[in-house]
Symmetry: C2
Subunit: 141 residues, 2 copies
């Protein structure tokens, strides 16, 4: 939530992500940075996952948990599978761009190499309110 709020303050769509290890130690945290980096792939999840892998020095994040304020898109869900995370926890559901419980349902296919435990809707109202507030202000601007 802090990363999402900080992203909003920077004019970014407010999404924040944290990667923690099996002991709950935070390995990396990031907010959405698409505008600041001028990079459409700079979603909070991608930034946090890459930083966590770099910190651990390994290719994978087995045993780790990604906690993110919004249901991941196909890119980020695919990255979660590629990094072999143990658990995905997300806040708001995203019927428009989400790819876990909507659309491509990336982890729901027989071909999925890796299927994390998924816990969706955690502090959903707060996470969704941050996004609604951000887009509401954009519309009013």
């Amino acid at each position: 939530m802090q990363e999402a709020q900080a992203a909003a303050a920077r004019g970014e769509v407010p999404v924040g992500a944290v990667v923690s290890d099996a002991q709950g130690l935070v390995l990396a945290r990031a907010g959405n940075a698409v505008e600041a980096t001028r990079d459409a792939s700079a979603h909070a999840e991608m930034l946090a996952l890459r930083a966590a892998a770099a910190r651990l020095g390994g290719k994978y994040l087995a045993g780790c948990t990604l906690t993110v304020s919004l249901e991941p898109c196909a890119m980020c869900a695919g990255a979660i599978a590629a990094y072999r995370l143990k658990t995905l926890v997300f806040g708001a559901y995203d019927p428009k761009s989400g790819a876990v419980e909507h659309g491509p349902r990336v982890f729901s296919h027989a071909t999925t190499h890796h299927r994390p435990e998924v816990v969706g809707g955690v502090r959903e109202a707060e996470c969704a309110a941050l996004l609604a507030d951000f887009f509401g202000r954009l519309r009013d601007a």
Copy 2:
């Protein structure tokens, strides 16, 4: 194909990718670098897409074409949508990890924000042979 061959020579799964603009100018090219970078997200497509966006200085790659030797996975297909590429050309089909014509079929959902033109199976036999040769040598090693 050159990037895929170079990746194989480095001990990487041989996949290569090129991003070109509407005039056919190559903006970026990359081979798979998961082993070298110790980063499970360092697929050829992700590296080429990020480099192309950095070169153009914009968030998106509208009008551009990604050409890659293997059907993209969910992460890379999601990135193609995020960057809003005009066209995706790929070589070998990937029934195991592909997410364009298999599994999640990332561009085949009503919720997809962006759906590129997709041309699959270009020089399919050559692209597939590179992969089969690589994995065959791994098995024999």
